[in-house]
């Protein structure tokens, strides 16, 4: 229980690190017994960036984030938050500078929204006032409600408000919108964007590709404890090449081999009666596919095409859901 004090004077002495990235980690590894949760990852998140960690459940995203937050010591590797390392006497200084929304945290059930925020605010040397937080997260009407009586979206807004209570420079958001309805999701996105436009840095994990595409300027895709791809959302999508996708349903079974034999068709993915073709991004390629379907006597229902999205990148990278390559 020896934690150094976190007076404003200590915080001011951080000027030496003023150019350090918000987050920097090298060769980060975490073992739980014989299980390897994180198998050596390098990350740099510059100040002002919104960095997204994507990946399926169990990819190691949460373990990575919790090591960065100082909750678990890494098995090996180094972590620097604003240039400071954990366990070197500046833990409290680091904690003053970031805010956290953990996955699945339930705050004190019997406290009201206002009481929860007052409590969290009291932990930080500097920060926002409770009324400012209530206004920011649109919680003014719920301020006297007990936490247990809030809806999922309201609880999540309170969780984000506690993360903002110390006026952090860096925000860790671990699947912030999982289980929320679209409107609640939009509200939270607005809060994150406002935080960034004020100069804040964000590290976000999510498995909503739309969320990553909307909020993040840089992404890393994790699978089985490693980063298997990284770049801006645009660059990751472009990495698939000049492709488009054709979706349709069909009562008849098309001849996949004949479709794949077309030079413009890269892949055919089938789920029940639904088909998704990855083809060259050209009108000529689409025409060729339609002509082949007609030749086979297949009547596609609900035919649509779409440009590549992060979902397609994710499926392509992790190989899940794509039956042919």
């Amino acid at each position: 229980m020896t934690s150094p004090s976190s007076s404003p004077a200590v915080r001011a002495s951080a000027s030496a690190d003023s150019n350090a990235p918000a987050i920097e980690c090298q060769a980060l590894v975490k073992h739980y017994g014989s299980k390897v949760a994180v198998a050596g990852i390098d990350l740099v998140v510059q100040r002002g960036q919104c960095f997204g960690l994507l990946g399926p459940n169990g990819a190691g995203k949460t373990t990575t984030v919790e090591m960065l937050e100082g909750l678990h010591p890494p098995t090996s590797g180094t972590i620097r938050i604003f240039g400071a390392r954990w366990g070197e006497g500046r833990d409290q200084w680091i904690r003053e500078r970031f805010g956290v929304q953990l996955q699945d945290t339930q705050l004190a059930d019997k406290l009201t929204v206002e009481e929860v925020l007052t409590l969290f605010r009291s932990f930080y040397a500097t920060g926002r006032s409770v009324s400012e937080l209530l206004a920011l997260l649109d919680l003014e009407e719920e301020r006297r409600q007990q936490f247990s009586r809030l809806s999922g979206g309201q609880k999540q807004r309170v969780a984000i408000a506690t993360a903002l209570a110390g006026a952090p420079d860096l925000l860790f958001l671990d699947e912030p919108t999982t289980g929320l309805d679209p409107r609640a999701r939009q509200t939270l996105w607005g809060v994150v964007e406002a935080f960034r436009s004020a100069g804040g840095t964000v590290l976000l994990t999510t498995h909503y590709m739309e969320e990553a595409a909307t909020l993040c300027d840089e992404l890393a895709v994790m699978d089985q404890g490693r980063i298997i791809a990284r770049g801006s959302p645009r660059a990751l999508i472009d990495s698939l090449g000049e492709v488009q996708f054709v979706d349709f349903e069909s009562p008849q079974t098309p001849d996949s081999a004949a479709l794949l034999a077309l030079p413009a068709v890269h892949a055919v993915d089938r789920r029940g009666a639904r088909y998704r073709l990855r083809i060259e991004r050209s009108l000529r390629a689409l025409t060729a596919v339609l002509e082949e379907l007609e030749r086979q006597g297949v009547t596609p229902i609900g035919l649509s095409t779409h440009q590549a999205t992060l979902d397609d990148v994710f499926l392509h990278l992790t190989g899940r859901g794509l039956s042919h390559e």
Partner: protein
């Protein structure tokens, strides 16, 4: 951005503890209402009253004036029964002794291991012997006493206070921590600059507030309803109560340091508390257990607390008269607290 209205974190943590507790109706019942119900129930069941005369079953009364003397005596309650019914009544404890008259003398049937049976036999014999003409050579004088602090309620109340301090400290600290860990609230706190010591101290302070309430409630209730009095000084009583509560808080912190789910926390809480409910003499004196068990029983924290409370309540002792009890409480609480600090898990 800076906000001058922010409060001290320790004050906010203590306030949060108090609010959470006061809004938990179940806790209020167990901590404040339940011990009062126990005191009322047991206090009434075991209230002191003049002993009832022994109940005697007469299978056939002696003839003439001897039988009349027995039937009319105020020192016994006589019921005439056939032998089978009389024996059934004896077996069920409805009568204390059976008188079987067979000329020229009575047979007494009673349970020799039962005090009431033995004394009933002597009373009924005395009545018959005197009616038959025995003259006592001595005329004794009697002096009866009724000292304060010797009734069952005087014995019981310190026991209930001890149980209450144990229960509220154990559930209020250890169980509460396990719930917070399970809800991942502890790890949420661990990623803030909140000082660990403030967090643990908040438990100490909030417990102290409730301790004062629990103690005054039970002491006041005893005084008002049963006329119990504290013969020692209130300062010693308060100091011992604080020490006892702190000792149990240390023990329960040890449970709260590691346990991850509420089911096993429940199990641990009961494993620690139940033996002391029985052994530590809260309801009846542990002197009834075999001699060799007394040493281990006195080493239990609840025994130390209850013995100490009784000494202050009923013997007018002060804290300075208590030696071994203080040591026992200090060791349990101190060891629990130190080990808990070293092993505490925030995740």
């Amino acid at each position: 951005m800076s906000d001058p209205t922010a409060q001290h974190p320790l004050a906010e943590l203590v306030k949060a503890r108090l609010r959470e507790f006061l809004r938990e109706k179940g806790m209020i019942f167990w901590v404040f209402v339940f011990p009062l119900l126990m005191a009322i129930g047991l206090g009434i069941a075991f209230r002191s009253r003049p002993p009832e005369p022994p109940r005697v079953a007469a299978v056939n009364l002696p003839p003439g004036s001897l039988g009349a003397a027995l039937r009319d005596s105020e020192r016994v309650l006589v019921e005439e029964l056939p032998e089978a019914a009389a024996r059934r009544s004896l077996a069920r404890g409805k009568v204390d002794v059976i008188v079987l008259w067979e000329e020229p003398a009575p047979t007494y049937v009673f349970d020799a291991s039962n005090e009431k049976g033995v004394s009933a036999r002597h009373v009924v014999d005395d009545v018959l012997q005197r009616a038959a003409g025995r003259v006592d050579p001595l005329t004794p004088r009697e002096q009866t006493i009724s000292e304060p602090g010797t009734r069952y309620i005087d014995f019981l109340l310190p026991g209930l206070i001890g149980l209450n301090l144990m229960g509220s400290s154990m559930w209020g600290v250890g169980y509460n921590l396990v719930v917070a860990r399970k809800r991942r609230l502890l790890r949420r706190y661990a990623v803030t600059p909140m000082r660990r010591s403030h967090f643990l101290l908040s438990y100490f302070f909030s417990r102290s507030v409730f301790l004062a309430l629990e103690l005054s409630l039970l002491v006041g209730f005893g005084a008002l309803v049963f006329g119990t009095i504290v013969q020692g000084d209130y300062l010693s009583l308060a100091a011992l109560a604080v020490l006892g509560a702190a000792s149990f808080a240390g023990i329960s912190l040890l449970i709260g340091a590691r346990v991850e789910n509420t089911e096993s926390a429940n199990g641990w809480m009961n494993l620690v508390q139940l033996p002391m409910w029985v052994l530590s003499g809260a309801f009846f004196s542990y002197e009834r257990f075999p001699e060799w068990l007394h040493g281990p029983i006195r080493a239990l924290p609840l025994t130390a607390l209850v013995d100490g409370l009784r000494a202050i309540f009923n013997d007018g002792a002060s804290l300075l008269n208590l030696g071994s009890q203080l040591v026992v409480l200090l060791v349990w609480g101190g060891v629990g607290f130190l080990v808990a600090l070293r092993t505490f898990r925030w995740q």
